[in-house]
Symmetry: C2
Subunit: 360 residues, 2 copies
């Protein structure tokens, strides 16, 4: 814990524009695009774009480059340049079971993001090693982040021949995909991971259950060097989400009661291929309720597809459409610009830290 | 959050011997007795004795009184007296579904503990109201703490005609009994509870997932005015646990992998009567493994009873005996005196707070 400044310094050497505490935009598939990622980095955070295939991936990185170049030409000093040490100040996130390593290498080689975020291999540590080596060969200065939801996998990676530069530890409160059966909350997973990884010196980014300055200070206390947020950024104005989805994130309260881990919506949407050790946290709506009440899947699917045709009206109290979200959904109350989110969460974390330090 | 000092002051007015941050011994049934509870209070915390019926309850409170009197006669200044404002500086915890209100009233009236901790009614808010009114009639200055694992119940209690003096918010990482199906981790439950209870002004004590100074600072950041620990105190030298059980707490690592919520061990031990919305978090051992492998219950029960005859040898890597424990079990590494635990956790919390305040 006393090494908090040390580990932050390690990160700020790699990402010199970041402010403390570090706020990271998690690479939410289909949702975290270049506009949001650039906004987060410009606010002193680190934005990850979610890779969604070679063509769209290349397009997204090109867009990010242009946005950064545009900002520079407008004398926007929020980042010192479009390229920091030869690297683009945004990251790129991959789902290893879904993405192709050669596509990843091509994109990374061309745009040199400052970091990649690897998650969910089908082939365990061996596949992580292949990706890590492949990325490093393509862009030696690009840092490799790997996300884990178990102590065992995180320590195996740290002790491997190709250890990551940063480990992301994801508690079970997280939205979207995480451990299906063997997850646990951030409040115990994170300190136990910090103990297990201490000797490696690898900085930890906490994910899962963090949506505001309170969660940030909690995560730093528990051993993280920074935090990643997903659900809070679902309510960013730049997020690539339907208005209906976004309104649902703002509307839903009581994260424990309102969300659950289930593969139901993946099946309803036709999302297939996730390794079975993962399942997503979802807002429970009518599809879930009807499923629990015994309505056959074919009927649920028919109703789901019908709801899909109604667009934004497919969400809401009586909605049926998939709403990937973390248990922090009850802490998200408004739509704001990505920069505002990053700055306000950081300021809140600072004021909490000050209040704590004067309280005993 | 800026009201942290305010809410601590509220607590220290009621419990003038406590030091900040407040560390509470959770009233673990059969385990938290007078020796441990007095030690915790003498160290500036607040120890709760778990009530286990009228006769043993009266005996435990008498023992606590004698211990406090003995300490006073020995000029032990760790508490200013055996009675603070007419109240005994230890608390008393009740399981409402199991305990008798008239027994509780008799014990509270005679010994006037500074607080009672109510948990797990079978009759919801109505039963909580009865207990609250009964306790207050018996001992008007005794504060009423009520433990909840859901936002809905906590807000209902806060808005009731007999609101508690303190609310304990229990995350799903907690050991022993908690919400069976609708729990969530402390990192999201606590801030959402804090938001929901803010207007009531009722201080929150966080429970579940806290075993050291890191967890304490996290809980305070998230909105708690103090923390309760159970599992860490299972490794207190004064805890009423078998050596085998205690060694198991120290031995077991990886709380996510090693523990689960299950009623299996209640059934094996013959513990019956818990309302179905609760189940305990347990260390998975051979009883669990065999159960998952399909061994019939009768055979599991026979093997469990045989293991019971071996005493302390019934725990361990190949053990079968019930080991109630939280997901923090991987953070507990040695047996220490209760006072040492309280003081070291408090000091660790302070040093983390200092490190945080200088890091950004």
């Amino acid at each position: 814990m006393l090494s908090l400044s040390v580990t932050f310094n390690k990160l700020s050497q790699a990402y010199p524009w970041i402010a403390s505490p570090l706020i990271v935009l998690a690479p939410m598939r289909g949702i975290a695009g270049p506009t949001l990622a650039v906004a987060v980095s410009q606010a002193g955070g680190l934005g990850f774009i979610a890779f969604t295939g070679k063509n769209s991936g290349l397009e997204d990185l090109e867009t990010a480059s242009q946005l950064l170049r545009g900002a520079k030409e407008q004398d926007d000093n929020s980042l010192s340049g479009i390229s920091i040490g030869g690297l683009l100040p945004v990251g790129l996130g991959f789902l290893l079971w879904a993405d192709d390593l050669s596509d990843a290498v091509e994109t990374v080689e061309k745009y040199r993001p400052c970091a990649v975020w690897l998650f969910a291999p089908r082939g365990g540590q061996e596949e992580l090693d292949q990706w890590t080596l492949g990325i490093r060969a393509a862009s030696p200065k690009t840092q490799v982040w790997i996300q884990f939801g178990t102590i065992g996998e995180a320590t195996a990676a740290a002790g491997s021949t190709s250890p990551p530069d940063v480990v992301v530890i994801q508690g079970t409160e997280a939205g979207g995909h995480g451990r299906a059966h063997d997850g646990i909350g951030t409040i115990t997973l994170l300190p136990e991971a910090a103990d297990a990884l201490r000797s490696s010196g690898i900085p930890i980014i906490a994910a899962g259950g963090i949506a505001d300055g309170r969660g940030v200070v909690a995560a730093l206390s528990l051993g993280a060097s920074g935090v990643a947020m997903g659900t809070r950024f679902l309510a960013a104005s730049e997020a690539r989400v339907s208005k209906g989805y976004q309104r649902e994130i703002v509307r839903v309260a009581d994260g424990a009661k309102s969300t659950t881990r289930t593969t139901l919506y993946n099946r309803l949407r036709g999302t297939v291929g996730w390794p079975e050790e993962f399942s997503p946290r979802m807002v429970k709506n009518r599809s879930w309720g009807d499923s629990q009440a015994g309505v056959p899947f074919d009927e649920l699917k028919r109703l789901y597809d019908e709801a899909g045709k109604t667009g934004d009206a497919g969400w809401g109290p009586e909605g049926r459409l998939a709403t990937y979200a973390g248990a922090v959904v009850g802490l998200v109350h408004e739509v704001e610009d990505g920069k505002v989110i990053v700055k306000s969460v950081r300021e809140e974390a600072k004021s909490i830290t000050e209040a704590l330090s004067t309280s005993f």
